[in-house]
Symmetry: C2
Subunit: 353 residues, 2 copies
């Protein structure tokens, strides 16, 4: 049995979305229990109205709410009984295997980092997301915005936690192919930081396939793509922008005249299939990776279906026992990297001597 | 009458693409003359076969070709009679108003920079491209890969040359809205370099609208978007990747079964309209901006139609007399920026004193 802690007050619409989302999710997954965190009275009313299966739900009362535009450091200091923080506390105390929130991203990250701490050897958590690519492949990309300025060491750590998560979720696959997002595939490409990262990744035991380009996010030829949070976030928003623009352009073409409108009716099944394939709600749920606990961030403006998908994402990670596997994998990978670095430095010293 | 110099030997397929592309372009534009640069004998044969209008074409013989994978510095040193270089020489000598090449990007940039030099006050040239966005708007984005590591000053210079080009091409519009590509719209977002750039852009006379996100490339709400070449190139390739992936997904949906295949026939006009709208050949032609001459780079692997579009792009710039306007605008903008910086520094000194 998996238990998830849900920040029921978070997001642009709070309970109006989280409660029906939770109910929809419980209908899909039988082997799961939810701790809904928020105002007890409001939660009881909302759950009753939504005909929620109360035998699979626990209400955890909390008195505060972190506003969507509140400064993370203020939320951390002043909102110790917020629904967001109490949800993360459930994970810290071992009462839930994952926490899910549609609340303030910065506050969620700061709180998660403060309460749960990072995995030993991982300096900073990263935001990761599975992105659909060709042939029904999913590409895990990180960091998507938690860290705008990264050192080569931090980027190498992101590669390790990303690879370990992928392996935990897809244990039957070959070792995940890890790529470094760059402006070309040649070894010597990129900024100074990226060049140094390339050298570090070569010394890991990861299945590092080298530099990859923006096009490769969608080719299904790489499993884990590493970038700093500045590049990653811009890339993510660019994808969303293109998808929305192209979706709108298709609609325009089919609304052009009576003939194309009639054609749209005939083409409806194919168009619906296409629309469903790129429905952003299906890909809702960003993973805060590198923490000693599973935390999933839902888009703040999603609807109930989108929120249910974020719960699904958290469920998969908890079900795969991904955290324990990542912690073990990270320890092994970092030990190998340290060993190889010392060996290389000794070899250089030998040459000098 | 506009004269364009064409590197006829450049690109993956050389004359097989450049000659039919040139012929197609000449059919579209009447008020233009082409200097085709390359091996005279081969060019004569290819032009004859393509029934080229020889009264509007001059052949300029050159003996060398820069290979697509040749190191730029070697091309610069050893290929002084390459078709690529001789085409740029035509611009330098005032015999042509723009040069177009589908050849080696690095070699083209190095050669253009060496032969033409940059506009006074512009340290580095940038690669710029018009990107289609909502409501038939075009967003000019730069740098797309010429400079992976940029200083705030260089990024501010890119903003200035981009804005001046936009104004030169769309003189009837309001002053171009200039945005800085970032991970959020708040002033304090981004890397250290980007934060410094923000402050610099605030001191220019540009219509600087602040930070913009990846989604804004396609919303038609900003005219010129500035990024360093690392981010810009990854964003460009991401767009191409999404567009190709989504195009493939539509095809898949309409090929799913007999019914959807039949629907595809009915939907053909709308689907063709959609396909045409995102045909990458229509957007072929990246602009090397900041040089004392107009140089347009065609994709190396394009076909004749794509190459014709790159010629069209060069023609538009030459026709708008963009270079003279950019040089004049840059001088004014840089003078204002320098004045404002001195004024601000004096104000700070006043406060200290």
């Amino acid at each position: 049995m998996i238990t998830l802690a849900v920040d029921a007050m978070g997001g642009d619409a709070g309970l109006k979305i989280t409660v029906p989302g939770a109910v929809a999710f419980l209908k899909q997954q039988s082997n799961v229990h939810l701790i809904m965190v928020g105002d007890e009275t409001l939660l009881k009313t909302a759950l009753t109205e939504a005909h929620a299966p109360m035998d699979r739900i626990t209400i955890q009362h909390s008195t505060q709410i972190v506003e969507m535009d509140e400064a993370p450091q203020l939320a951390l200091k002043n909102k110790k009984d917020s629904s967001l923080r109490v949800a993360i506390n459930q994970v810290k105390e071992g009462l839930a295997q994952a926490a899910v929130s549609a609340g303030n991203t910065g506050a969620l990250m700061a709180t998660a980092r403060f309460v749960l701490k990072t995995i030993p050897g991982i300096e900073r958590p990263a935001i990761a997301k599975f992105i659909p690519s060709a042939n029904n492949h999913m590409t895990l990309m990180l960091d998507l915005g938690a860290n705008v300025d990264c050192t080569p060491e931090q980027l190498a750590q992101f590669a390790i936690i990303g690879s370990e998560l992928y392996q935990a979720l897809y244990p039957d696959n070959a070792p995940p192919r890890v790529g470094l997002l760059n402006v070309g595939t040649e070894d010597i490409k990129g900024t100074e930081t990226v060049k140094q990262t390339f050298k570090l990744l070569k010394q890991t035991q990861l299945n590092f396939i080298g530099n990859v380009e923006g096009t490769n996010i969608f080719t299904g030829t790489v499993d884990v793509i590493v970038a700093d949070g500045f590049v990653g976030n811009i890339v993510l928003k660019t994808m969303e922008g293109v998808a929305k623009f192209m979706g709108g352009a298709i609609k325009d073409e089919f609304s052009a005249n009576l003939f194309t409108k009639a054609a749209a009716l005939v083409a409806m099944p194919a168009l619906k299939g296409f629309k469903g394939k790129f429905d952003p709600r299906r890909f809702n749920g960003a993973i805060f990776l590198g923490l000693r606990g599973v935390v999933v961030k839902s888009h703040g403006g999603t609807d109930a279906l989108g929120f249910a998908y974020a719960l699904e994402e958290a469920y998969h990670e908890a079900h795969a026992d991904s955290l324990a596997k990542i912690e073990q994998g990270v320890a092994t990978q970092l030990a190998v990297l340290a060993e190889n670095q010392i060996a290389n430095e000794s070899a250089i010293a030998d040459n000098i001597g």
